[in-house]
């Protein structure tokens, strides 16, 4: 009777049963009569209200069936190898995504990983005592030690400085030094000494009292008790300090003034020699400390290298006795002789990347150079004291799509013949990480995927007809075999091996990873634009990279180009079916808003750049995808430049024609959060004479909404997703009443706070912080609704869908996070309630609406408390918009929580009436419940969660969810369960078997009944007598009975 509890099934490991959705038929399969007897209305209602708590959950053995999770670390900044005396060879890296990770050197897998917060930038890492990973982060204010084998944090020290400065970390390298030799950190204009064993704060030397000295290098000579600090005061005086390592006492301070000023960093050459560039970047200054005196020696770069210009940089690679200089023409190695002379040793190409020096043995150092060739890279390892020849030279084939080498870290190992072998960890332009050893790529990691900027999706190609018979037979056999196994599993006959095989079949189902379109629309391509300017296409079935392209349009110029936006360009559905779908990548070359933009159109099936329009002349601050398509189904796009001109793409006469036809109804708006202004613009139909091309249109300002700058500051805006499908405009409420939703794509949600409260939580008192939310029509600038939350502040995360917006903020008075919902309804349609008129079609419900008609609206809103702070909010979207919705909330714990929209319904009340209960309204509670089973990421964490994308599948019940951050996670969810399909583990074999058995049974019973029928016909009393008696007797019987009489009489 009660379908909720099935305690002893093996599947019940991790979740409770999911109650039926509100509008699916509730079909109790057993005990119909008992149910009928027991049915009492209150009981049913009780059952329903108790089962209305919707959960999305899955069983333990369903993990991995339709979800995948990929772990990344991001672009590596620093790497420290740990290979000596270690069973598991590993490399500890810190990345630009603020991740510290320990990677397996054999396979590149992550042993452990920690994602520090977005504001906790890792400055330096090192290994101390051979067992701790030391990280310095947050501009040198946090020093942490992590246990090397398992990544547990051992200790943490907060270093406070007097002012901000660069962060330097010096860890006693040699194990022979006393264990109590401290870690020396320079940060906040102070030198701190911290015990490496327990993180105890030993002493601090404040340099702020010494004038405004800026320390550039900390040197800890092995075996001595002195720390050398080399710095610059006011960029015109060199200072060296000697500080006692045990107590921080200043032993010696020498200084020498240098009027020319300096540029960049002081680079140490050896223990007492340093080199630096002067402010004009044309003179090299060699600093020598001798007998406590500083000697400066200046050398003009033009004397060393002919024809060099001013863009000279000293590369930070630390090679003893040598430094490298990058000029416009190439990289020059310069040796500093013992006498203090500078000798040019070698010139190499500009693209060469140099590693730090690696100490091999006493006095021997090696470093690596990587040179990029055509489709290959050349790795050469040289010894510092013998620059003339390559110690090792290897050529490795390299994928074009990985671009140039950005960084290299080398490590050595001792071969069996006691010679040195080298392995090199290289970071490529696309942020991928590779390990080279013996001329081969041992492993690669696509860590560019840790920094996804934008996501688009694409359909897969349609399956080609014509599959060979053998394949079909084979797959049929496999299919049957798989189902027989499943049947065994269902009947609990399977051995443990078979159970494992079943699970394997389920996980590795070839169905889900095929490269063709499927009926349900589960298989798609996720197209990801990463910060490195690389485009990846991932298969939703198993998450593998189908193709990847380093966009050439973003690489052509010398400027720093980066992709900023990804849009669907062409989605062939009806016409142009032989074209592949394509996406538009909009990039910007430069850092300012006025920088020229780069455009690129990429084939979604192959990753080829179909059209490379970069860099174009205009800048791009807005990309508006218009709801119009040309005959080849290319979506029209408007790119708004910094001068508020609209550029139309594609640049074809046809597109221009379509646009000019529709331009009267095309508007755009800008949100100027700094100024606190919303502006709306219309597009002028004809291009004026001073516009550069015929695809460039002037726009005119139509309206402005100016928020008072002393009381309101814009902290967030959100609009509806342009491709969202809404099934109906009516909302049916209790008693079959109707409310008409105000559904407009041109609705903008704006949140403002008082300027004092725009800082982090706690920076303002409840009295001075006010959160105001607006719903604005972006065509007319009309404010549809305004609501004030006193004593609340941001950050605000919001999602707008259909006719409602849900937003998350912090309530200072209650000291809790809050979530509010606003639903907006159209009053101008509320009169449409006459059934007869509706039946005959006399209503204004389907006539096109204009924002200028100023429809009257009403809103309903409600607020709740919410336990978590939130990183992102999204909402499920389905193909037809019929299925009920779930909010997808990216929590602070980097998980994605599915919250039924019914929990945030402004019509919830404390004491719901009978009608409300029947409608499915939940009783009002002050806080939104967090049901552990409703985490769609179940046991995974999407570290550094930044966004959640939902894509409708073709199956109406199902929505694909892709969450990205440092990690990627994809799953599909069915907010109202899969009411339109059988579950994955539906046993077709059992069904077939049952049907077969039924058919056989029908046949057998038919034969039996035929026989019985015949027998019955024979077995009337008289005839039975005959059958029982012998033939003569039958004759006698016939003669003696008056059969004839009967016959005759009857006639």
């Amino acid at each position: 009777m009660d379908p909720k509890v099935i305690p002893n099934t093996p599947k019940h490991a991790s979740s409770s049963q999911i109650p039926p959705p509100p509008f699916s038929l509730f079909i109790p399969t057993n005990n119909l009569i008992a149910m009928a007897m027991a049915i009492k209305l209150p009981l049913i209602l009780l059952f329903f209200s108790s089962s209305l708590i919707p959960t999305f959950s899955l069983f333990e053995d369903q993990v991995g069936l339709m979800d995948w999770h990929q772990r990344y670390i991001g672009k590596v900044k620093h790497a420290v190898f740990h290979t000596q005396k270690a069973g598991r060879k590993r490399v500890v890296v810190s990345t630009e995504e603020n991740v510290i990770a320990s990677l397996d050197l054999r396979r590149g897998e992550i042993f452990w990983r920690h994602v520090l917060g977005a504001n906790d930038v890792v400055d330096k890492i090192d290994i101390a005592l051979g067992k701790y990973v030391i990280t310095l982060s947050s501009e040198g204010s946090i020093l942490r030690a992590w246990n090397l084998p398992d990544g547990q944090m051992v200790w943490e020290s907060f270093l406070s400085g007097s002012k901000s400065s660069k962060a330097l970390l010096t860890v006693p390298a040699n194990l022979k030094v006393d264990l109590d030799s401290p870690i020396i950190v320079y940060s906040g204009a102070c030198i701190h000494a911290i015990s490496s064993i327990d993180g105890e704060y030993l002493w601090k030397k404040d340099f702020a009292s010494e004038g405004s000295v800026d320390v550039h290098q900390l040197i800890l000579p092995g075996g001595s008790d002195v720390v050398h600090a080399v710095g610059v005061t006011d960029s015109s005086q060199f200072d060296t300090y000697e500080i006692h390592i045990k107590n921080g006492g200043l032993l010696k301070h020498t200084s020498a003034s240098f009027p020319g000023g300096i540029y960049g960093e002081i680079l140490p050459i050896s223990g007492d020699r340093f080199v630096v560039l002067d402010a004009s970047r044309s003179v090299l200054v060699l600093i020598t400390i001798e007998n406590g005196q500083i000697h400066l020696e200046q050398t003009h770069i033009s004397d060393l290298i002919h024809g060099s210009s001013g863009n000279t940089v000293i590369l930070p690679s630390k090679l003893s006795g040598i430094f490298s200089l990058r000029t416009d023409n190439g990289i020059v190695f310069i040796k500093v002789t013992d006498e203090g002379k500078l000798n040019v040793m070698e010139k190499v190409d500009k693209t060469v990347v140099i590693s730090d020096a690696l100490p091999l043995s006493e006095g021997e150092q090696a470093f690596a150079l990587v040179q990029h060739g055509d489709g290959k890279i050349e790795l050469s390892v040289r010894l510092v004291h013998d620059m003339s020849s390559n110690h090792l030279k290897e050529t490795v084939k390299m994928d074009h799509e990985r671009g140039f080498v950005h960084k290299i870290f080398i490590n050595n190992y001792v071969r069996t013949d006691r010679s040195h072998g080298f392995r090199a960890l290289i970071v490529m332009e696309d942020h991928s990480l590779l390990l080279l050893q013996q001329g081969e790529i041992v492993w690669t990691r696509d860590d560019g995927l840790a920094s996804v900027i934008d996501v688009a999706t694409s359909e897969l190609p349609v399956e080609k007809i014509g599959v060979s018979v053998a394949k079909v037979e084979h797959s049929l056999f496999e299919w049957l075999k798989g189902h027989m196994l499943k049947l065994k599993g269902t009947l609990m006959l399977a051995t443990p091996d078979e159970v494992a095989a079943i699970q394997k079949i389920r996980l590795q189902s070839s169905e889900k990873s095929r490269m063709t379109r499927d009926h349900n629309g589960f298989r798609r391509l996720l197209i990801l634009l990463t910060r490195a300017g690389k485009l990846y296409a991932l298969h939703t079935g198993d998450g593998r990279v189908v193709w990847s392209t380093l966009l050439q349009s973003l690489r052509t110029t010398s400027q720093q180009c980066a992709g900023i936006k990804l849009h669907q360009w062409q989605v062939p559905h009806h016409h142009a079916l032989d074209n592949n779908p394509s996406v538009l990548v909009v990039g910007r070359c430069g850092l300012s808003l006025t920088s020229p933009s780069a455009l690129s159109i990429v084939d979604a099936y192959t990753g080829k750049e179909l059209q490379n329009m970069g860099p174009v002349q205009h800048s791009t601050v807005q990309v508006i995808s218009l709801p119009f398509r040309d005959s080849s189904e290319q979506q029209l796009h408007l790119l708004i430049d910094a001068d508020k001109r609209a550029h139309l793409y594609p640049t074809t006469p046809e597109a221009a024609h379509i646009f000019q036809r529709e331009s009267e109804n095309v508007y755009w708006y800008s949100v100027e959060s700094e100024a606190g202004i919303l502006r709306g613009y219309g597009v002028k139909k004809s291009h004026s004479s001073d516009t550069p091309s015929e695809y460039c249109f002037e726009t005119r300002n139509l309206w402005s909404v100016v928020f008072p700058s002393e009381s309101e500051k814009i902290i967030g805006t959100v609009t509806r997703k342009p491709n969202e499908v809404v099934h109906t405009q009516a909302k049916v409420i209790a008693d079959e009443d109707v409310m008409y939703k105000y559904i407009s794509k041109n609705m903008l949600f704006v949140a403002t706070v008082s300027p004092k409260a725009s800082g982090p939580i706690g920076s303002a008192t409840p009295d001075e912080s006010v959160l105001v939310v607006y719903l604005v029509d972006t065509v007319t600038g009309r404010i549809l609704h305004r609501m004030t939350h006193l004593g609340s502040q941001g950050p605000v995360h919001a999602v707008l869908s259909e006719n409602w917006v849900v937003y998350h903020y912090f309530n200072l008075r209650a000291h809790r996070y809050g979530m509010s919902i606003i639903e907006i309804y159209d009053q101008s349609r509320a009169e449409n309630k006459d059934i007869l008129k509706l039946i005959v079609g006399k209503h204004n419900l389907t006539t096109p609406v204009s924002s200028y008609s100023r429809p009257e609206v009403t809103t309903k809103s409600q607020s709740y408390f919410f336990t978590h702070s939130v990183k992102a909010i999204s909402v499920t979207s389905t193909a037809k918009g019929i299925t009920s919705k779930h909010l997808l909330i990216g929590t602070i714990g980097d998980q994605v929580l599915a919250l039924d929209k019914r929990f945030v319904d402004p019509r919830r009340s404390l004491n719901p009436t009978q009608a409300d209960k029947e409608e499915g309204l939940l009783p009002l509670t002050d806080a939104l419940p967090i049901i552990p089973q409703s985490y769609v990421t179940h046991s995974f964490k999407v570290e550094g969660l930044r966004g959640i994308e939902t894509v409708p599948a073709k199956l109406e019940s199902t929505s694909l969810v892709f969450a990205y951050g440092v990690d990627l996670f994809h799953t599909r969810i069915a907010p109202s369960r899969t009411y339109d399909s059988l579950t994955e583990d539906f046993n077709y074999a059992l069904l077939l078997l049952t049907i077969l058995a039924l058919v056989v049974a029908i046949f057998v019973t038919w034969v039996l009944s035929e026989r019985k029928d015949l027998q019955d016909k024979w077995s009337w009393p008289q005839t039975q007598l005959w059958l029982q008696s012998s033939s003569e007797q039958r004759l006698l019987n016939i003669c003696s009975t008056p059969v004839n009489m009967f016959v005759n009489q009857n006639r």
Binding site: V666, Y669, T717, T846
Partner: protein, 204 residues
């Protein structure tokens, strides 16, 4: 022992026509027609000529069967008509019991939509419908020139219509009848918007 040729013949017919065509007819109005409960006709019409050839047994006088005394027959007919009209009324009233039963079942099923209530409702709708379709057939056996079938038929139809109304009422309580505005507007797509606007915070 000698066997008469006719009997022999009968057996022969019997054997040659295996399996035999047994025409077994049960009399329906057993109370009216007298003692005979059943009769076996061993011959089919095709074999009649063969039996005709055979002379009647000695001492058997063929009496025309239909020429019974008319008074007896009239009496019989009256009784039959009586019986038929009585029966017709019975049949006409039968749906009433059904109606009560259906009502009870419906009350049992409650007002939520699930398999049980749907099944009951549809059977409540279907049964009267099929019964109404077969009104003529139901009253066929009681057709008689002397029996007035109109009144029972009307009662039968009325009761069935009542049953159907009950089903419709049930359908309505289940909320399956499109009697509200919500039933007509919920399938209407949102109205098309004339204007289009895009934009937002400047990309960075």
């Amino acid at each position: 022992m000698s066997v008469s040729p006719s009997k022999l013949n009968l057996v022969k017919v019997w054997k040659s026509n295996l399996p035999p065509v047994l025409l077994i007819s049960m009399e329906k109005g057993k109370g009216v027609m007298g003692g005979r409960k059943w009769a076996v006709e061993f011959t089919d019409s095709s074999s009649i000529p063969s039996t005709r050839d055979i002379p009647d047994p000695p001492g058997f006088t063929r009496v025309p069967h239909d020429q019974d005394d008319s008074t007896l027959s009239k009496h019989k007919k009256d009784a039959e008509a009586n019986w038929k009209s009585q029966k017709a009324w019975e049949v006409a009233q039968a749906p009433f019991k059904n109606l009560l039963m259906m009502g009870f079942m419906m009350w049992m099923a409650g007002s939520t939509v699930h398999l049980f209530s749907i099944g009951i409702t549809f059977s409540a709708l279907w049964q009267p419908l099929s019964a109404l379709q077969g009104v003529g057939k139901v009253f066929e056996p009681y057709k008689n020139s002397k029996v007035d079938l109109l009144a029972p038929k009307l009662l039968f139809i009325a009761l069935n219509l009542g049953g159907m109304l009950l089903g419709v009422w049930k359908l309505n309580t289940l909320g399956l009848l499109p009697t509200h505005a919500s039933d007509w507007v919920s399938s209407l797509p949102p109205a098309h918007e004339v204007e289009y606007s895009g934009g937002g915070i400047a990309l960075h």
